[in-house]
Amino acid sequence: MRTAYIVSPLRSAVGKAMRGTLRTKRPDELCADVIKAILKANPSVDPKTIDDVIIGCAMPEAEQGMNVARFALLLADLPQSVPGVTVNRFCSSGLQTIAMAAFQVQAGGAECILAGGTESMTLVPMMGHKPVGSRKVLKDGREDYYLSMGLTAENVAKEYKISREDQDRFSFESHKKAVAAIEKGWAKAETVPVQVSFRSPGADGTVQIQEQTFDTDEGARADTTFEVLSALKPAFKAGGTVTAGNSSQMSDGAAMCMVVSEDYLKRHNLKPMARFVSFSVAGVPPRVMGIGPIEAIPRALKMGGLSLKDIQRIELNEAFAAQALAVLRFLEIDPSIVNPGGGAIALGHPLGATGAKLTATLLHGMQRDKQKYGIVSMCIGTGMGAAGVFEKL
């Protein structure tokens, strides 16, 4: 089997949904900006030689419908001969696409694929614009398929005995780490500055256009404290423990990378960031969807012939503090290797973009700290978990 390499994992900064800086940015255009940056960083690549563009998106409709991958690549001015496909596995979509690209390269089906994800939670809400319930699900003892994500986190907190205090402390740490990382400029190398424009009513019926460059994650709060987080009311369940403060933020963002074969690497004289080692996705009961990584991480490690001891860094999506803590405790993962620059509670979780975003963060972090093996993992709505293992080169 051939080896698949990851080149130039890059991303946009993550904007807060609804009121954040990316609120007007279309997810196809945002992703196109990241694709352009990858090509700019690799001038030796002839765009015509890109075999496919695979983009993950969790709610692929409206502005991110119409096969957003094809639109993103066309808007990035790739040749019209380059195809594109959109992939949806909810919150792991952006990792799923990298794995699919890698498998294709490994199998000899492609030499170079652009893979990643994009999501605007501002423009397309969770569950999309028109969720429709199913009689089969609701009247046949399967209602928990529709359990809201927050309530699955309540279930996890209860079953894995994760206290409110631990959740709030974990969330406070996430903010603290994120604020420190932003101060140190850790994310600079992986972030593509993007242009955002705002069109508002001007004088006498004219349009006032304001342009802005967006290059820094905006979710982290330097002013939050453990006490502030402790004072928040439960957001999903009366008497529960899961709050807006110990849940991931809704966000807008895009992230992409180039997945190539060894031949392609040499031919274009590219510098790979990492070797794709393995990927696994597993199903768990939908009512406790947050524990997905408990199943996915050991499987992915086994496929890669590695064990947790070999792993020096993990980017674990913080969908909820409750589920993240349950995963860490169950797998006995050393918390100090997890999300050193903060997680989704502080930085945000742009659903379909998250997998690729965390891959960029993981690989650049490992480069900085000279580490070898790392994992990207997340839980997935309706009860799944995904994990990808990478070897930093």
Partner: protein, 808 residues
Amino acid sequence: MTLRINRVAVLGAGVMGAQIAAHLAAAGVRTHLLDLAAEAPPQDPKLAKLVGKKFRSTAALLAIENLKKLKPSPLASDSILANIIPGNFTDDISVLQDCDWVIEAVVERIDIKKMMLAKIAANTKPHIPITTNTSGLSLEKMSEDLDEYFHRRFFGTHFFNPPRYMKLLEIIPHPENDKALVGELAAWIEKYLGKGIVYAKDTINFIANRVGVFTMMASFKHLDELALNIETVDALTGKTMGRPSSATFRTTDVVGIDTFAHVAKNVYLYAPDDPYRDLFQPPKWIEHLISKGSLGQKTNSVGLYKKTTDEKGQTEILAYRPATDSYASQQVQEFPWAEAAKKIPDTIERLKFILGHNDAGAQYIWRTLRDTFAYSAILLAEIADNQPQAIDNGIKWGFNWEWGPFELWQGLGYDTVLERMKEDGVKLPGWLKAGIKFYKPAPNSSEWHLTGPTSQYQGELGKERGIVKAPQLFFLPKSQNADDRRVVLANKGASLVDIDDGIACLVFHSKMNAISNDIADMMFKSFDKVKSDFAGLVIANDAEVFSAGADLKQILTAIKENKFDSIDQLLRRFQAILQMIKYAPFPSISCPQGLTLGGGCEVTLHTSEQILAGDTFAGLVEVGVGLIPAGGGTKELALRAYAQAAKGENADPMPFLQKAFMLIAMGKTSTSGLEAVEMGLYGNKASVTLARDYQLQFAKKRILSLVDSGYQAPLPITQIKVVGDAGIQTFNMMLYNMVQGRQVSPYDALIAEKVATVLCGGEIDAGHTVNEEYFLELERRVFLELCRETKTQERIEAMLKTGKPLRN
């Protein structure tokens, strides 16, 4: 009327000024609210952000913000804030040039008032009314530096707190006033702001506060003399006497003990000749509470009562004990007449019965009444220009008493009361001779209820003066009344009344105007009658509530006897008559006001148009008793949702259905007429008036105009493309999560699913086309399904027993 008021300025953004502005705004008037200009932005960053560039008007902006927090809410809806424009005396004084009325409501200091009036005089159009909202300062003094041109248009308009809710507005004319202008503004205030006008003389505290506060002070005195505790006095002086349930001391706590004492002292200081002057000196223990800072509601609810919470979170309201300066658990003293008195619904009859006793409780009631009667008689000339009605209306509208002092005196038997007063050695004015009738006809007599007072006795002038009935008042029957010659048809539950000009009015008069079999019968009979003999139908009443809903007792009995067929029949009849009204060849208008709930609300949804009173608390609240609106209420909201969606190209009905679903499934009740429309309960044929007294007249005029402009029955609704089962399951998806999140009980969710079932058009494939009748069938089916549920039966039983919804 020549006076047109589109724009008003209220100067002074205190609690009263801001609330007056809110009431004007609700009446559709563009209102400038001005206060002192700030020199710099506020220090507090939050406030600074709030006021932004308009920091010069911080005082007014904060007063407007505060309106959102006040309870009871001065805002008929948040939307009316768009009608309030904040400003300041320095930069915005020029707006006065555009105003049609200026109200001065600055701090109660004569020097400041004088300054403000001079500023107003210099900045307004020459002929507009300028009024002060002072509650006690002399108008003559306030305006002494200004010329006769100013005096012509300057008078007092004293709103009562809270101005949105209190009907009373005292007008205090200035001797040099242009009387026509005062009259025009008074008429405008009645018609647009819905206030009741009482003309008062420029005397200390004017009329209502002078007499009302006197009664409170008398309460203190007799409390000490008869050694009663404050909670017993409140039990005696509330509903028992036809007064608000907050009675005497709870009212004092709400108003603020200091405010109340200040008003009392005003009399003590500035009315040295007051015959009861010493009474206005608050007792020592009241002074003590004020010095301690225990002022009532505004000081963490510590005043004459104290709210405490124990470890278990149980709250208890303790009562003050002056003797020990401490708070104790309430011990309401029982009196032998209490149980029997409760069973007498008529206040005057009840009081007559109580006054036949001689225990401390009955004595207390007697002595406070006696003193109030005497005081009102003594001051009749001085404060009310010898018009008993001014004092009675002032007290009724300003303090929410059912009867004013003179009405009550006469109702209780003028001579008997007079004799007893004389026995007690009460000081009385000389004109109170035997056999006087303050009013004709006698208050509470059958005739009185038909016409209201037609004349009043002018005290020391020793003669009667006629009272002209205001044309907007109809005096609709409050029970089956054989003497009322306007009544065309009547039974125990309702009457059809001829209100002239070819219009008939259907009046409910059952208990709480609950929709009973009687009412349904009368609706059918009225329909036929109106169809043959009248041009249009108004559905309105003069009661406190339009209708509290369906008669639950009837439904529960049928359930218990397993007579589900009879419930089905009941629903069919109710639905049928409402459909008949909806598609009648004549126009109809309903006048919701007060509680307009459940079945009562459904009646109003089926008239051609609705004219709502400002204070309308309307809702389809059936889920509270485990049922759904099945008199066409759910159907009406569904039809409206589908119609709204049909206006868009291929638009999805779900967001519109969702709004209807939330209204019904949450049993939401409006807090005002405006809100009832804005929240989507009523459609675009509904309008709102703040003038409750004019509501029926407006309805009548509107019907006449509909008749004159060629009214045609609405087209039948036949092609409704429903969302079906997919819609129901989409609501179920949400409900499931609400149950899991413990936001609603599983049974709440089950009822809500039934609401969704009707709204979505049943468990069928999406896209089927149905007609209006189909929704009525669904309503009945679902209603009967719920009737068979034990938990629904429990809910109905609880409501009948406790009057409160059970969430099981």
